[in-house]
């Protein structure tokens, strides 16, 4: 069995948003939509203030609430644990958006324009309109095309860049690590063995596939 997950070392993340930019560049998401983003937490008050940069996105949950509620089965879990969306089947009811506790899903009804209506669509927007995503649910796919390409060509997701999500590839601090949690020798399994970690909203029992390392054991 394979289950791909993302591990974020919050001691390493510097909040540069390179992963955000890499995701947008790779997936051509609409203006205002970020499948991968980095939150900026500030805890405490002066002089005892702490900051934390937390990368977020779809958690590709084990018991995904979005897939559970989807009336069309457009949202489904692949055998490798990735939660995928069949855009041609989705009716855009937005029930999955309400079911996701990670605010990872969007629906864009009108094709956005980066510089507003007055300037029309940019050339790059015209080239990648992604009309299949219009008025239906969309979210982080873990760059599933790259993973499928990689596994079909003998590459290892999380190790070989051509088989790894763009956000993990681009991270300047090596804070984001992608891999197969079911493989005890994988990069993510090793990290989880050697670090203390938490999952966001663990109390909701979604079986999140996004792990945050906060201290070395």
């Amino acid at each position: 069995m394979t289950r791909y997950v993302m591990v974020a070392d919050i001691n390493r993340c510097v909040g540069c948003q390179t992963c955000t930019a890499a995701c947008k560049h790779t997936n051509a998401t609409a203006p205002g939509v970020q499948w991968r983003k980095v939150l900026d937490f500030e805890v405490g008050s002066y002089p005892n203030v702490r900051r934390a940069f937390i990368p977020v996105g779809c958690n590709h949950c084990l018991d995904a609430p979005c897939a559970e509620v989807c009336p069309t089965q457009a949202t489904y879990k692949r055998p490798d644990g990735i939660i995928a969306i069949d855009y041609d089947r989705c009716i855009g009811c937005a029930y999955c958006i309400q079911a996701c506790p990670y605010q990872a899903r969007n629906r864009v009804d009108i094709p956005n324009k980066a510089y507003g209506k007055a300037f029309g669509q940019m050339k790059h927007e015209q080239k990648v309109p992604h009309s299949e995503r219009r008025a239906v649910a969309q979210k982080c796919t873990f760059c599933v095309e790259r993973i499928d390409y990689g596994t079909a060509n003998g590459l290892i997701p999380g190790i070989d860049p051509d088989a790894t999500p763009a956000c993990a590839n681009s991270c300047i601090a090596d804070a984001l690590t992608f891999g197969d949690i079911e493989d005890p020798d994988s990069n993510v399994s090793k990290l989880l063995r050697t670090h203390e970690y938490f999952q966001m909203h663990a109390e909701l029992e979604t079986g999140s596939g996004f792990y945050y390392l906060w201290e070395r054991k």
Binding site: I10, V43, P65, I91, A99, Q103, E215
Partner: protein, 295 residues
């Protein structure tokens, strides 16, 4: 970037309209069947009940992003309560029309069974929305079901005067006691709902519910109780008093759903259980912005 829970905007008045119309319609069908067993002429309510349910579903159809694919909604009966709601509606709507046309009590009762399933499915739709704390609590189920039944009873009271003898029958038999019981039941379900969220919802959600509480207690509980007792005491004014009590029973249910679906529906927000160590320091405590108590 917003870390605290934000108000969901994706389900607007059209989605709320489905819960409002669908709840009232299914409640009306159930109450009509119950009252017909108590001897009232109630099969006439079956058509407006079906029409209300159909209106609610029509509103949802207007909201979905790809309405031409709407038949795909029936693809997940194994797991999705939205699919189940749609499937039950395909039985409920024709049964309501048939019960109206044939004035058949057995058909009305069958319609009420479908309506009960429809109402329960509506409650579970909200319950399964894990991203909205105001919806996912277990206490949403009795609230949505009880308010649907109360709204249905309210509609019966409003239109009771249209059928000769129904108003008098409501007050001489068990009808008015049933109405009172439903008002109490919904009041209890509302208190239970608020209690379930007391330390388990975003601050903004709790503020909305706090503001709504006075209106619901006054117009949804106190007003109908007073009016129903007055109706029992003054037979000459039973018709307007029953209609007024029914009006408040319906109004409060719609107000309650509007508040829960549109105003109190804040998302989960983001949270961390630890902050990272910086330099040679130690990791620090976590944070859950927008929540009254750390969870």
């Amino acid at each position: 970037m917003m870390l605290a829970p934000t108000l969901q905007k994706r389900w607007d008045w059209r989605a709320a309209g489905n819960f409002i119309c669908g709840g009232s319609g299914s409640g009306l069908m159930i109450m009509a069947a119950l009252l017909s067993l108590l001897g009232l002429h109630a099969s006439g309510y079956a058509l407006p009940a079906s029409a209300l349910v159909a209106t609610g579903l029509g509103l949802v159809w207007l909201e979905i992003g790809r309405p031409l694919r709407s038949m795909n909604v029936f693809r997940n009966p194994r797991r999705s309560w939205m699919t189940r709601e749609g499937l039950v509606a395909t039985v409920l709507l024709p049964l309501g029309a048939l019960a109206f046309l044939s004035e058949s009590t057995p058909l009305l009762i069958l319609g009420a069974v479908a309506a009960a399933l429809f109402l329960y499915a509506q409650a579970r739709i909200l319950h399964m929305a894990k991203g909205i704390p105001a919806w996912r609590t277990d206490a949403i189920n009795p609230l949505i079901v009880s308010t649907g039944l109360t709204e249905g009873m309210g509609l019966v009271l409003i239109f009771a005067g249209l059928v000769q003898g129904n108003v008098a029958a409501l007050f001489s038999g068990y009808g008015w006691i049933l109405a009172l019981a439903l008002v109490f039941l919904r009041g209890a379900a509302w208190i239970n709902y608020r209690y379930s969220l007391a330390n388990n919802a975003p601050e903004a959600t709790l503020q909305v519910l706090d503001r709504a509480h006075g209106v619901i207690a006054l117009l949804g509980v106190a007003a109908p109780i007073v009016l129903l007792f007055l109706g029992k005491s003054y037979p000459a004014y039973q018709l307007p008093l029953a209609a007024a009590a029914g009006f408040f029973m319906v109004l409060c249910g719609w107000f309650c759903k509007y508040q829960i679906i549109l105003r109190a529906a804040y998302s989960q927000g983001y949270a961390i259980s630890h902050t990272p160590a910086r330099g040679g320091g130690k990791p620090g405590p976590g944070l859950k912005p927008g929540w009254r108590l750390p969870q």
